[in-house]
């Protein structure tokens, strides 16, 4: 198959220990892509982007962006990728070549874990996207375990000798099960509010009002309140319609965050990539298509599902600034 025939997503890790190694691996790829009509987006640190541009020479189809910010919200970052690619393709690009580098986020293990989850999920959600994403990682600057984790989320590796299949690649669902954040520590404390159990669809409106009142009492910003209420709505409806009543909602309000669990009494499901694929509105979001879970993922920083002794729990975590402005 010729390179021109590739229409799907290629996701590759480029683990380098010197700028020379980065250039040696990335340059052939970018030159070939530009020659074939691809758009190139350089989202790595300035110093490396400058080296790449100097080596290739100025080109109208090269865009430089700031280094990839590690997304607080994986689901929206994926939608951003879709849009970025669609825009380039709409103006004539054959496909898009991104060379990205995560922003420096120090030694924060949560941030690295979230980055790893994003890397894994995009293998599923961007699968049909005409995009080559080359994720560059400076092995000298990262802890060894982090490198190992990140490596296993990339199906391919880009080396100075070209693209090779990554033998350590782990399929996304397995990866995500391994890296599930699990219960938030705050869940070991008493919830700020444990709402009355809901057993009927007609009780959900009252639950929304109670949830709004609780969030209002904690001076949660109105847009965040609206997002959380809309997300909880979908999860409660899912629990009632696809799970088994009663559905119990609990809310914790640790500083700067909101943690909310929605638990139904059913067996639930074990699919950590559920709710990441954008629903098709032309399909009118048929019931059971995962639209509600997708919306919840768009509206909250992190949404996790877990089978627990109590039933099936969906956990929402989102950041909430300290006080209403």
């Amino acid at each position: 198959m010729s390179a021109a025939a590739v229409t799907h997503f290629i996701h590759q890790g480029l683990f380098f220990s010197s700028p020379e190694e980065l250039l040696a691996a990335a340059l052939p790829l970018l030159r070939e892509g530009l020659a074939a009509g691809d758009a190139v987006i350089l989202a790595c640190r300035d110093e490396y982007a400058a080296l790449l541009v100097d080596a290739i020479g100025p080109h109208p189809r090269i865009t430089r962006l700031p280094p990839v910010r590690v997304c607080a919200r994986t689901a929206t970052a994926i939608e951003d990728y879709h849009e970025m690619v669609a825009q380039r393709v709409a103006v004539g690009a054959r496909r898009v070549e991104v060379v990205g580098e995560p922003n420096d986020f120090g030694a924060n293990p949560d941030a690295w874990a979230e980055c790893s989850r994003f890397e894994a999920i995009c293998n599923v959600t961007l699968a049909m996207c005409p995009l080559t994403s080359t994720c560059t990682f400076d092995v000298g600057a990262l802890p060894e375990p982090v490198i190992k984790d990140l490596a296993s989320a990339h199906p391919f590796l880009l080396t100075p000798a070209g693209r090779i299949r990554n033998e350590r690649y782990v399929d996304p669902a397995t990866f995500l099960r391994r890296f599930a954040a699990g219960p938030d520590p705050v869940e070991e404390t008493s919830p700020t509010v444990a709402f009355a159990a809901v057993t009927d669809l007609h009780q959900v409106a009252a639950l929304r009002n109670q949830l709004r009142a609780a969030l209002d009492a904690h001076e949660v910003d109105l847009p965040i309140m609206a997002d959380v209420v809309a997300a909880v709505q979908e999860l409660v409806v899912n629990g009632l319609v696809h799970g088994r009543p009663p559905v119990r909602v609990r809310l914790w309000t640790p500083p700067e965050r909101l943690v909310c669990t929605v638990t139904d009494a059913g067996p639930g499901f074990d699919d950590p990539v559920a709710g990441y694929m954008r629903p098709d509105p032309d399909d009118a979001f048929s019931p059971g298509s995962g639209t509600g879970l997708w919306l919840a993922r768009q509206l909250c920083d992190r949404v996790e599902t877990a089978r627990t002794p109590a039933g099936f729990t969906v956990r929402l975590i989102t950041s909430a600034p300290a006080a209403r402005t």
């Binding site: 007609h202 409106a205 929304r208 809309a230 709505q233 319609v241 954008r278 979001f285 639209t291 509600g292």
Partner: protein, 280 residues
């Protein structure tokens, strides 16, 4: 906040013109029915109407006069001077009886009349078609005379086909615990919240509106506080035939949170749906 009464259990927050006309009330509980009925009565007395409500016999302490809370004294005074009257359902419901009631009240010098009936109770004992005949009479009275009517139906008794008939009969004005809908010169005005619990009512309204419209159905969303995925789904399902035949559904002036839901889900990108901001 919107004019819709508090969701679930609260008393109606207002008693303005949204209670006038031929109004369908879909209630899920007796307390919901009574709080709506009380607001409707208050509105009528406030306007100087003759207010007549027909309901099933109730135990002492359980009629609308007993549970009207702050309005109890006001209501009792209105009963005493003949402005407010209770009527046994069997007096209200024979075909033709409604017109006679209206005539009597207008002859007595009242400028307008309000009729309320616990409709699902009577229809349970008769045929649906006979019941709909009476609804048609009431509808005609509301359109041609100085009459408003509140038709109360228990939500659980309204099957899909029946719901369709009832909404068709009350297409100008309808409310349930979370949502009110009213026809206006600039389209259907939605006030309150639409979710999985009442999306079927919303779908019925959209279906009927699109079936009777030429080209465009406008929905004024300025007072709509919430729409979930189920509401968006029903909007698309119920308008599909209409849109495929070239019709357009125009969603006007949604609030920020509703606007976000519609855009995230891509409803605004669907063929035949226009999402526009600004004034309704």
């Amino acid at each position: 906040m919107s004019n819709v009464h508090g969701v679930g259990n609260g008393a109606p927050r207002s008693h303005g013109p949204e209670w006038d006309g031929h109004l369908l009330l879909l209630h899920r509980s007796e307390s919901e029915r009574l709080s709506s009925l009380a607001a409707w009565i208050y509105r009528g007395l406030d306007r100087g109407d003759k207010v007549i409500y027909a309901e099933l016999p109730r135990a002492a302490g359980e009629s609308v006069l007993d549970v009207a809370n702050g309005w109890g004294v006001y209501f009792a005074a209105a009963v005493a001077d003949g402005r407010l009257a209770a009527l046994p359902l069997e007096r209200f419901y024979p075909q033709g009886g409604q017109e006679e009631i209206v005539d009597q009240a207008l002859d007595a010098g009242f400028p307008s009349v309000r009729l309320a009936a616990e409709s699902s109770a009577t229809w349970a004992t008769g045929s649906l078609s006979a019941h709909l005949d009476i609804e048609r009479t009431v509808d005609r009275l509301c359109r041609t005379r100085a009459v408003s009517a509140l038709c109360q139906y228990k939500y659980s008794t309204t099957e899909r086909t029946v719901l369709h008939e009832l909404v068709a009969m009350h297409r100008d004005r309808l409310r349930d615990s979370a949502l009110s809908m009213a026809a206006s010169s600039h389209g259907l005005v939605l006030d309150g919240e639409i979710d999985r619990g009442n999306a079927d009512v919303f779908a019925t309204v959209i279906h009927l509106a699109s079936a009777s419209s030429v080209g465009v159905v406008r929905l004024d969303l300025a007072a709509l506080e919430f729409m979930d995925v189920a509401a968006c789904r029903q909007l698309l399902y119920a308008s599909r035939d209409f849109r495929q035949a070239g019709g357009r559904v125009v969603l006007v002036a949604p609030r920020a949170s509703v606007d976000l839901t519609l855009r995230l889900l891509g409803v605004d990108q669907v063929a035949g749906i226009d999402l526009v901001g600004g004034q309704p």
